[in-house]
Subunit: 280 residues, 2 copies
């Protein structure tokens, strides 16, 4: 399994693959591969002839007080995971390969990026949309695989693809959870044992909120219920608990499904996010 | 020669062409095809196996006081020109085909879009970069052809392609001029006979400025000379005359070439632009 660090290497490998009439699937990641990524890679392996995983801790999606420096980097271990799962190519560029010093072009997805995480992480989704555009242009995949855990990211990328007519199909994959319900994330490894024990309260809170929405609760009532459950856990500090329209991220028109319940909470310095979509 | 108005038609035609191993060239236009466009189309015809011309008066690159409504639209005549030049496909979508009502994604090329025309037409280059991205994603050309008359547009698109790793090569083609030096533009047809007689003063001014730069004049001196020549023509109203670095559009580091001399001036309501690059 080749590990390419240069854009031209990837282009030339993919050109050959396409020449054979094979389909290409891309799983964009920041590395530190875990079960959530493995599920995406297995799904890609089932669907596409040639599977590419990109591993790039993208500086432009981190804010100044975010964890860019300490974000886990473990290329060798990640490559072993990818190989084990039958991945065909790892693309692991440096920041210098991805960004010229005078790079000044960004992809901005309006509105959708102002809500939820976007309200607390200015520039984050601009960085995500830009790097994903670049990866699409480099790999030219038929399909790209994203997890529903990063729900807003998924929505932003789907909107970007639609608005810019990008010739890529998005495959959304369900959130993978630990046995106690905690959504799997590369950031879970920052948690102390005590914080790790407290963290499942996030998903419990979302489940309670979802039950209430199914029972006819308004968005405001569901938000209050989710917030209360999390605020009851002393090791968690709530950043937001929102109940919104799952397509627009705006206030829902009426009580009841469909509703997206989304949460961000800190355990110490570690920011955790999770969500549930209550379908109609 | 087919005229496609739908994105999926274009994709399916281009897919077939690529399947044959043929190269694809795109000439993006707003229609009202003139000799400048013909030069681009001839150049594309020489280089690429399959030549696409897009004809779309893109609303997102016009400001509220710009000439979107009155911009000339003449699809039948344009199609005849394209056919005559051996074009393989005309893509002439409606605004509804290109933009969803809730479209909210834009490509922003920073810095380069703040100077020259960008300073007077806020949002213009954002609209250009966005629609060109869309056209690239729809047509997936090997090469796209742009005229040097719209110098800043060319630079913005080249930067966008580099920054976002778009797999497209840009072919820049020289400005085509009338016998008296006036740069050919779809907007020239707005001019009254008197304005048309006055308009060549723009290119004369640029030539004077270029001569001065070659003779060692500073950017400021060249700007003043260009401005004075245009201001001497009562039927022209200068918007800007600038002498800048041709790569960054910033103040040049030193006197002498390379320098971009760029002008925008009004003849009545008609905005005319032109430029000369004084090479090293």
């Amino acid at each position: 399994m080749p590990i390419a660090s240069r854009i031209d290497e990837v282009r030339s490998i993919v050109r050959r693959v396409r020449g054979n009439g094979d389909s290409v699937g891309l799983v964009p990641t920041m590395g530190a591969l875990h079960e959530g990524h493995s599920a995406l890679l297995r799904r890609a392996r089932q669907t596409d002839d040639f599977v590419v995983v990109s591993i790039f801790v993208n500086p432009t999606q981190f804010g100044p007080s975010d964890d860019f420096e300490k974000y886990p980097r473990q290329l060798e271990k990640d490559a072993a995971v990818a190989e084990e799962l039958g991945v065909d190519l790892v693309f692991a560029p440096t920041a210098e390969e991805m960004y010229s010093p005078d790079s000044c072009t960004y992809v901005e997805v309006g509105e959708l990026t102002e809500e939820l995480c976007g309200a607390f992480r200015p520039g984050h989704f601009r960085g995500v949309a830009t790097v994903v555009s670049k990866l699409f242009n480099i790999v030219s995949p038929d399909r790209a695989y994203f997890g529903q855990k990063d729900y807003q990211q998924l929505l932003v990328i789907e909107r970007m693809i639609r608005d810019l007519d990008m010739p890529v199909e998005i495959v959304a994959c369900p959130t993978v959870r630990e046995a106690d319900g905690l959504a799997i994330s590369s950031r879970n490894e920052y948690l102390t044992p005590e914080q790790r024990s407290a963290a499942p309260a996030i998903y419990q809170a979302l489940q309670k909120g979802a039950e209430a929405v199914r029972g006819g609760a308004s968005a405001k009532e569901a938000e209050a219920m989710v917030a209360a459950h999390i605020e009851n856990e002393p090791l968690l500090e709530l950043q937001y608990a929102r109940a919104v329209d799952p397509h627009t991220l705006a206030e829902p028109g009426s009580a009841g499904p469909p509703i997206l319940l989304a949460v961000a909470a800190f355990a110490g310095d570690t920011r955790l996010i999770d969500n549930i979509v209550v379908e109609e």
